[in-house]
């Protein structure tokens, strides 16, 4: 039995030398910390093949959902930093860290690049009387703490309405609806009044099943020219869910460089913006240096926000 570890070590060394010879020589696991079919999953299932082309290896999307996206984050953090595990991140990593849901933060990873940005939209149930953002605000001022908002508590869909709350000086009542799909069901059935959504729900808005009240981008989007921005309405909130790729800290330089180059090539692929449009998402590429700065700024903003909302646990 003593021979086994030795043989194993030998095999491992052999495998390691092979791996160094030609990275990637086996499929790379891209951990998406959310269920399949969600926005993040859909975006990366579109992006992975484009990145693959430049990388010359296979990327397999592995959904590790659960616990507000922190289960996958933990899994990615504890994976061997060999370049064969990468992590699909979005802004919730900061908020779940500061609200104390998880111990994983972006500093446990090496940035690869930022891929996309999805502006948030204030969305109302068709059973509500509001015709636009103004009537919502008036109603909210008249009935503080009575308008129900569905949200994944402590995550982006909670932070966004909370920012609107602060900027407009109103008060909502939050009800836990984790995930976009259950939130949209509840909006349709009139079980909640408001929720954050994005352009992926445009079809339902066009069919009158949902009402888009205002968008949190800096200017109106051509897809929904009739939806005003919050800024136009005097609410100084700009919010989007930003998605990027990270690798576990300690990933070899050579592998990182290859991944970064492939990510850049994938994001610049001519077909990518068109494909993303279908998912209500804008392509937003940032190189590793710019992405690092972005993460730092985002992290600070989230910390401040958590503090202002009374949710800061660290």
């Amino acid at each position: 039995m003593k021979a086994l570890p030795i043989i194993a070590a030998g095999l491992a060394a052999l495998a390691a030398s092979l791996a160094q010879a030609q990275y990637p020589d086996r499929p790379i696991k891209l951990i998406v910390p959310w269920a399949a079919g969600g926005d993040t999953d859909v975006i990366y299932r579109t992006f992975a093949p484009l990145m693959q082309k430049a990388l010359g290896g296979t990327i397999v999307v592995a959904n590790v959902g659960g616990a507000s996206g922190t289960k996958g984050a933990k899994e990615a953090q504890s994976s061997p930093p060999d370049g064969y595990t990468i992590f699909a991140v979005h802004d919730s990593i900061h908020s779940t860290y500061y609200t104390g849901v998880a111990d994983v933060n972006y500093t446990d990873f090496e940035p690869i690049c930022l891929v996309s940005s999805t502006p948030s939209i204030v969305t109302a149930s068709p059973k509500t009387p509001w015709t636009d953002m103004k009537s919502l605000l008036a109603d909210a001022k008249a009935r503080p703490g009575q308008i129900t908002v569905g949200a994944t508590l402590g995550s982006t869909s909670h932070f966004f309405p909370a920012m609107v709350e602060q900027a407009a000086g109103i008060k909502f009542k939050y009800v836990s609806y984790e995930g976009t799909a259950p939130r949209m069901n509840a909006l349709l059935g009139g079980h909640i009044d408001l929720a954050e959504s994005n352009l992926t729900q445009k079809g339902k808005a066009d069919a009158g099943q949902l009402k888009f009240l205002a968008i949190a981008s800096d200017k109106r989007l051509p897809e929904v020219p009739n939806v005003p921005t919050l800024k136009e309405l005097g609410i100084d909130v700009e919010y989007a869910v930003n998605r990027g790729l990270l690798a576990p800290k300690g990933t070899p330089r050579a592998a990182l460089d290859k991944l970064r180059a492939a990510c850049a090539a994938g994001a610049r692929d001519a077909g990518f913006p068109e494909a993303m449009k279908k998912h209500g998402t804008l392509v937003r590429y940032l190189d590793p240096a710019a992405y690092t700065a972005f993460l730092q700024r985002n992290d600070k903003e989230n910390k401040d926000l958590a503090k202002e909302l009374g949710m800061l646990k660290r």
Partner: protein, 506 residues
């Protein structure tokens, strides 16, 4: 609706879906025919393969397994007197005597054709009611869902086993599993018992796989000695020739029996988590009660075969209605389907049929087409099935458990789920040994989180607890669950002397 169904049929006959469906049917027929391999286990084995497929491909495969399994189970029931699965038990009562009286072909094909008719009648119900029921379900707020889940649990706990207390404890234990590790509302850790992998909570699929696979396999292992005996030699020369027209007429000349058995199958299927094993016994029992010649039952009467087989295939349609309209699994097989949907990111529930119309009608179409495919497989293949049942279990079981392991691992790509599989494998076997029913436990594991989430949502929306009773649908559902508990208490008193403890099936 008909255009959509037409489009669904046009989808499903495309090569990539048809291949998936046909493969599913074939695996189902084989799995159903193998004694000791239930349909639940077959569908568990198929699960990991569906991860890499398109959603409709994966679900078509599973539907194929389901339909094929319900039909395949009757082969061994009729010809060997061994039910291939619990939902074919009643088929042996008359199928085997008929075969021994020198009419094996008639027994077999009566069963097969009755399955097909029952299944297709079920399809009408499936297509017609799923949409309207889903529309009703959309009006369900958190209060209604909470009460509905409560009703499901109390019904299952009361109906499946002779001891109500055990059924209820079993269901409660299922809910206890879901409170461990992680609070589903905020994702905060709770009750992790210091075990790191518990911090994300326990997902239901590895629990289900572990409980069912090990409970079933280890019960067989118990009976295997040092020298495991293979199934006694099968007479492969048996003459199965029969006039199909005559058999079909024999079934259609009993329209009331066919319709009533189908109805029982559907009703049992729609009720959550009861499953085909109850359906075929109940239908058989009813057929006997309504028959002019009840004394002929058990001696090889065609009525017995028709009742049993039409009801267990209709049961499949009923289960599909529940899962597609409400997102609640009607039995373990649909619970695995629910898992497959979740893996593909599809939320089953009231919006399923409108948001994923192509997929939903594709599933309907798959269900209908599967019956034809099963028939095509069985016409030349029945004799071949007899050969397959002689595959030794000593080879089958390790392979099945390896596939269960892959299924658990691939679900979230972590070893954690494999550990869950092992722990609950042991736990499930222990439950069987203490004669606890498995069905309420699994339903508890599946619904526990949902019950909590809806309870918290209701409280967050409006803190008034009386809303659970004063909202009409919710109040009605609560009243129904109280009534169902009262009914099972009454029934248990009445039957106490008579009812022997049934083996845990499902």
């Amino acid at each position: 609706m008909f255009e959509l169904l037409g489009a669904g049929l046009a989808d499903i006959v495309q090569l990539k879906y048809l291949t998936a469906l046909l493969t599913g049917c074939l695996i189902g027929v084989v799995g159903g025919a193998l004694p000791g391999i239930t349909i639940t286990m077959t569908v568990i084995v198929v699960l990991p393969f569906t991860f890499g497929l398109e959603p409709l491909q994966g679900l078509a495969t599973m539907i194929g397994v389901y339909v094929g399994g319900e039909t395949g189970g009757l082969i061994t029931s009729c010809l060997l007197g061994i039910p291939g699965k619990p939902s074919a038990v009643a088929t042996t009562f008359d199928g085997f005597p008929m075969a021994r009286k020198g009419e094996p072909g008639r027994a077999l094909w009566l069963g097969i054709w009755a399955s097909i008719f029952g299944g297709l009648l079920g399809a009408v119900f499936l297509v017609a009611t799923t949409g309207p029921l889903a529309a009703i379900a959309l009006a369900f707020g958190p209060w209604e869902y909470f009460s509905l889940f409560l009703l499901a649990l109390s019904m299952v706990a009361g109906l499946v086993e002779s001891s109500l207390a055990k059924g209820l404890v079993s269901g409660a234990l299922g809910c206890v599993v879901t409170i461990l590790g992680n609070d589903p509302v905020l994702g905060q850790e709770r009750l992790t018992l210091g075990i790191p992998f518990l911090s994300g909570g326990i997902p239901f699929l590895p629990v289900l796989i572990g409980v069912f696979a090990f409970a079933q396999i280890m019960q067989d292992v118990e009976r295997m000695g040092g020298a495991a005996k293979a199934l006694e030699a099968v007479d492969r020369g048996v003459n199965l020739a029969v006039s199909h027209l005559k058999v079909i007429l024999e079934i259609l000349s009993r329209p009331f029996l066919l319709l009533w058995s189908t109805f029982i199958g559907l009703a049992i299927g729609v009720l959550p988590a009861i499953g085909g094993s109850a359906a075929n016994m109940l239908a058989y029992d009813q057929a006997k009660k309504f028959s002019r010649h009840p004394e002929r039952f058990g001696t090889g009467t065609p009525e017995g075969i028709i009742a049993s087989e039409s009801s267990n295939n209709a049961n499949v349609a009923g289960s599909l209605v529940t899962i597609m309209a409400f997102g609640i699994p009607g039995d373990a097989v649909t619970a695995v389907m629910l898992g497959a949907l979740t893996v593909h990111g599809i939320q089953s529930g009231p919006l399923f049929i409108s948001q994923h119309a192509t997929l939903a009608y594709g599933m309907f179409a798959a269900y209908i087409v599967a019956h034809g495919l099963v028939l095509l497989l069985l016409l030349p293949g029945v004799r071949w099935m007899l050969r397959i049942v002689t595959i030794p279990k000593s080879m089958l079981f390790p392979v099945v458990l390896v596939l269960c392991t892959i299924g658990a691992y691939a679900l979230n790509n972590t070893m954690d789920n494999v550990y869950v599989l092992l722990v609950f494998g042991v736990f499930g076997y222990a439950m069987v040994k203490f004669r606890f029913p498995l069905a309420p436990f699994i339903l508890g594991v599946i619904l526990g989180d949902q019950i909590e989430i809806n309870l918290i949502r209701a409280i967050m929306t409006d803190p008034n607890p009386w809303l659970f009773l004063t909202r009409p649908i919710s109040g009605g559902l609560i009243a129904a669950s109280v009534a169902s508990l009262a009914f099972s208490i009454w029934q248990h008193y009445r039957h106490r002397a008579r009812v022997a403890e049934a083996d845990a099936d499902f």
